[in-house]
């Protein structure tokens, strides 16, 4: 305590005694004060610790109730319980996240968003919070915000198995993009997901391939299915998927191959769960269709006789289709004056002739219209003219003798199917199969 007093002072003896008493008194006071402070600190600490432990207990109790309410799908009760839990443990992030989830479940999207944003402030880059914000933005219909938050979630921080969570979030984003018809973005994300997916994780590969199908990317989906089949040649889901996607792409030979293998698998084959009846029926239908299509297809690989036979069959189908389409077109309201002024004759034995006769009776058009190319004015007329240039009757011998004629005939068949589909709508039956061949004839037998 000498610190508080000057070292030298002009005091007499009694003053010095008094000063010593003062020093002693002050020292005693300070020691007492210190002791009281220490005692108070201990008491305060005890009181605080007991309260803090009680708070922890209460927080745990309310959290448990809140979680139970969430499981019971009682969001309002969950909100009440979790709010109470949070009041006792305000810094508990997981409780706050659960409360925000409960708010979202209760439809209180804005509050939940604010909550998550507040949480994000203290945990910038948290993957889970960004994911929740993305889901809330998606629920609010804020597409750009949702996508941005999904991206942040993908590249955010995740506790534990972050790799898996990031992939799950990316797939969720892809599904969101598909649902909102942002297919290009979805395909890009799918390519990243496919590149990052482990090759030995079949379920992930399958999910990516299926999602690619949903994103209208059957080419990449087929590639993924083939990769799977390379390792697991008898996996029914992969065979089915490959068959479907090959069918969509017009690879009918491949489609038949995969689908027939899939349908041949016994029910007990691992991974050969027969699946829903609808899917099975679809596989069977596609297989049947692919088989029939391949039977119609005048493949260059066939021997000439078989090929010419198929060309003639296709010719009949195409001519009938053209005749039907021409009749349909003539009876539509847009062509009503023509149709009423010159009703179509009854179908003759040669549809091509009847068609020609009908077109010849059509009234003459203005000079301006006549100057235009016929195909541009009416694609059917141009088609008809091309048919008229060919011989009225063609035999297998003709085709065998003149491969160029065979090629011209095949091309005209395809063009007929394509043009009639544009003018008269999608055909049915074998015409539909011919149309599919016509759309990509070179892919039919691609392996």
């Amino acid at each position: 305590m000498s610190f508080f007093f000057a070292l030298k002072s002009p005091l007499n003896a009694s003053d010095r005694i008094e000063r010593r008493r003062l020093i002693f008194s002050d020292t005693l006071s300070m020691v007492t004060l210190f002791a009281i402070t220490a005692l108070l600190a201990v008491l305060t600490n005890y009181l605080y610790q007991s309260y803090a432990s009680h708070q922890v207990e209460l927080a745990a109790r309310w959290l448990q109730r809140g979680e139970q309410a969430l499981r019971d799908n009682k969001p309002q009760a969950a909100i009440d319980a979790l709010s109470s839990a949070l009041a006792f443990a305000p810094n508990d992030r997981s409780t706050a996240i659960k409360l925000a989830e409960a708010l979202a479940d209760a439809g209180r999207i804005q509050e939940a968003t604010v909550y998550f944003n507040a949480l994000l402030e203290s945990q910038q880059g948290n993957g889970l919070i960004n994911l929740q914000l993305a889901r809330l933005a998606a629920r609010q219909g804020n597409e750009s915000q949702a996508i941005e938050d999904y991206q942040k979630a993908i590249y955010g921080n995740w506790e534990g198995d972050g790799y898996v969570r990031r992939r799950e979030v990316r797939l969720e984003l892809i599904n969101y993009l598909i649902a909102h018809h942002r297919l290009n973005q979805a395909r890009n994300e799918l390519l990243v997901a496919s590149g990052n997916a482990p090759s030995d994780d079949i379920s992930v590969q399958l999910e990516i391939a299926r999602t690619m199908e949903l994103a209208e990317d059957p080419g990449d989906a087929l590639h993924v299915y083939k990769t799977i089949l390379h390792h697991h040649p008898s996996l029914r889901e992969a065979l089915d998927g490959a068959g479907h996607t090959a069918f969509q792409l017009g690879y009918y030979l491949q489609a038949k191959h995969y689908l027939s293998r899939a349908l041949e698998l016994p029910a007990t084959e691992p991974g050969s769960d027969q699946g829903p009846a609808g899917a099975l029926r679809q596989s069977r239908d596609e297989l049947a269709e692919a088989s029939r299509l391949l039977a119609l297809y005048p493949s260059p690989r066939l021997n000439p006789r078989e090929r010419d036979s198929r060309i003639l069959t296709a010719r009949k189908l195409a001519m009938a289709r053209l005749a039907q389409c021409t009749r349909d077109k003539a009876t539509t309201p847009a062509n009503l004056p023509t149709a009423t002024s010159a009703p179509a004759p009854k179908s003759s034995s040669n549809p091509l002739q009847s068609l020609a006769s009908r077109f010849s009776r059509q009234p003459s058009k203005p000079a301006g219209d006549q100057a235009a190319p016929p195909a541009a004015v009416d694609p059917l007329q141009g088609l008809l003219q091309r048919w008229q240039k060919l011989p009225a009757k063609i035999s297998m011998a003709d085709l065998e003798k003149d491969p160029e004629l065979a090629q011209t005939q095949v091309q005209l068949i395809y063009d007929t199917e394509l043009i009639t589909q544009q003018v008269c709508g999608a055909p049915l039956g074998d015409d539909a199969l011919l149309l599919k061949i016509a759309q990509a004839p070179n892919q039919v037998e691609e392996e």
């Binding site: 007093f5 009281i36 108070l40 309260y51 309310w62 708010l103």
Partner: protein
């Protein structure tokens, strides 16, 4: 504190705080030396002890406030339950029961515990030489803890301030310090208590300066800062360093948003007026009722608050910090927020006017936050072009009501910044607070604590008036030098010749070292009579000289010298010896009379 503070005219010993036995004070001093004697034995002792004690006071106040807050929380959980919701019968009954207990304690055991604690602390400072009894501190601790924990719409900050001041008073009395020092310990403890309660040292210091001391005083500021920081360190040891409220990041999107904050400022000013008027109306009327009603006023207030809680708004109970937090995070609709603000005004007015111990800070913050969040939510819904963050509006609303209701504009700005830990919002806070403060001032001439003071029959200094009082300077009373000025080397003969011509009543002498001397005719005549005519003037003068005085010094700084000198030359600070003018006692008095 004293009955004089709360119930004028019933204090048994005039000038002595109620509940304090004069023998208690005598006993405290019985074995202690006289402060004057102590000062003689150890001249620097008080000054050095002052700083050390400030730290002790800060630490002890911090511990006491932590205990106080924990006690409130314990009582809250034990009485109202851990998750109060509308329809719980205990919400209806507990505040009434607690009110009964508190009323009995206040009337029978702790009569000085009524009120918030701010005015009591000011009374201790200005009337009782900083004296706050141990019984009063304990009484405030127990009764305010019970009331706030039991659901009364009151806050713990003002009682914490008084508890801190009481701790300071108790500690300083034990060390036999001078009266002046003892008096200054009250604001030191007050700052410590408030800082620990708010977890905001700067705001606490500013509040004590703005509302308790009234002006900046270098003598005490250092100790206040030490005590406030010590107490906050203690409080943070327990509560942690996080700010009281979790505020979302606020970014001002454009100047048009300031317009929205200005609207909030106006609304806050009006809301503070409503609260002030309600308190100003109800409180004196309840206090004028017969004394026996003091036993039933708190229970009835508790019943009303309990009814509000039972029928749908338990948020109004207690300080409501968690509700403020929820409002900041947009968890309520704007209509409910507005309803909460209005219900809180009702609940707080009734709780406080009933004489239940507890503070006004937390309710003020609550009302402001609800009002701000309500306006923010409304604007967000109906003015979609405004990029509004409800949290920032709630935060600014808190500051707005604080500035308008308590009339502490500077504290309100720093309080918002400190309790949120968010400095990005400073511009809206300053704008809205200033508007609210001006609106409040124009509509309500007296600040609320001054109103309470008048209601209690006391005449404590108005801090708002003191803050705004214009201080007169010497330049305000300055007049041109019209007296003859002589150099010190002039002989008496020369001076006499010129004085005969000038006929001046006084004269000024400029000495070679730049100092000045002034004398009247009588002094000169006596000098001239005793000296030879060729004596230089400077040799004939008395040894003292006029002190250096400059135009920017306070006017009252001249008064002590005017007893000795008939006129004071006022010099230029840049050019020693050059006169700016002069003042006489008459000039000074005239200037004061003109003010």
């Amino acid at each position: 504190m004293s009955t004089a503070t709360e119930t004028p005219g019933v204090n048994p010993v005039p000038g002595m705080p109620e509940g304090v036995d004069p023998a208690e004070i005598a006993a405290e001093r019985r074995y202690r030396p006289n402060p004057a004697e102590v000062q003689r034995l150890a001249p620097n002792r008080d000054e050095r002890l002052f700083l050390v004690l400030a730290i002790f006071i800060g630490v002890i106040s911090g511990l006491m406030v932590v205990c106080f807050r924990v006690a409130i929380s314990w009582i809250q959980v034990l009485t109202l339950g851990s998750s109060p919701h509308p329809g719980q019968l205990r919400l209806f009954l507990v505040p009434m029961g607690v009110g009964l207990v508190v009323a009995a304690l206040v009337q029978l055991v702790f009569p000085g515990a009524r009120g918030s604690g701010i005015n009591q602390t000011k009374a201790a400072l200005y009337i009782y030489n900083g004296y706050i009894s141990f019984r009063m501190v304990m009484g405030k601790f127990i009764t305010a803890g019970l009331a706030i924990g039991g659901g009364f719409s009151l806050g713990p900050e003002d009682p914490s301030l008084q508890i801190g001041a009481g701790v300071a008073s108790i500690v300083s009395r034990r060390l036999n310090l001078s009266r002046e020092r003892l008096r200054m310990f009250a604001p030191i403890g007050a700052a410590a208590g408030l800082a620990a309660a708010f977890n905001a040292p700067i705001s606490a210091i500013l509040f004590v300066v703005e509302e308790v001391i009234g002006r900046w005083s270098a003598a005490v500021l250092g100790s206040i800062v030490l005590a406030a920081i010590s107490s906050v360190v203690v409080a943070r040891w327990f509560w942690g360093p996080e700010p009281m409220f979790r505020i979302p990041v606020v970014t001002l999107k454009g100047p048009q948003e300031l317009l929205a904050y200005a609207v909030l400022g106006i609304a806050g000013g009006v809301a503070s007026l409503l609260l002030s008027k309600a308190l100003g109306y109800l409180r004196p009327r309840l206090r004028r009722l017969p004394r026996w009603t003091f036993y039933i006023q708190p229970p009835i207030a508790g019943l009303i608050v309990g009814a509000i809680a039972y029928f749908g708004a338990p948020q109004v109970m207690g300080p409501g910090y968690n509700v403020i937090d929820q409002a900041m995070h947009g968890q309520f609709t704007w209509k409910f927020l507005l309803a909460l603000a209005l219900l809180k005004i009702v609940a707080t007015t009734i709780s406080f006017s009933s004489g239940t111990p507890g503070g006004m800070f937390a309710p003020t913050l609550f009302i402001g936050a609800m009002l701000g969040a309500s306006i923010g939510t409304f604007e967000k819904i109906f003015f979609t072009s405004f990029p509004i963050s409800v949290g920032s509006y709630a935060l600014v609303g808190m500051g707005v009501l604080f500035a308008a209701f308590l009339r502490v504009p500077l504290t309100s700005v720093f309080m918002v910044l400190e309790v949120s830990g968010n400095y990005s919002i400073v511009l809206p806070v300053i704008l809205a607070n200033t508007i609210a403060y001006l609106v409040s001032r124009s509509l309500q001439p007296y600040p609320i604590f001054e109103t309470f003071t008048h209601q209690d029959g006391l005449d404590l200094p108005s801090m708002e008036e003191q803050r705004e009082e214009s201080v007169l300077h010497l330049e305000d009373a300055l007049r041109p030098v019209t007296l003859p000025v002589f150099p010190g080397t002039a002989t008496l003969q020369e001076v006499s010749a010129q004085l005969a011509i000038a006929d001046a009543p006084m004269l000024l002498v400029k000495l070679r070292d730049g100092s000045w001397y002034a004398m009247n005719r009588g002094e000169y005549t006596s000098i001239a009579a005793t000296q030879t005519p060729d004596t230089p003037l400077e040799r004939a003068l008395k040894p003292d000289r006029i002190p250096l005085l400059f135009p920017d010094l306070p006017l009252d700084s001249a008064i002590p010298y005017l007893a000795r000198w008939p006129v004071l030359p006022i010099q230029n600070r840049a050019s020693k010896g050059t006169l700016e003018g002069m003042v006489t006692l008459e000039d000074v008095l005239c200037r004061y009379q003109q003010q």
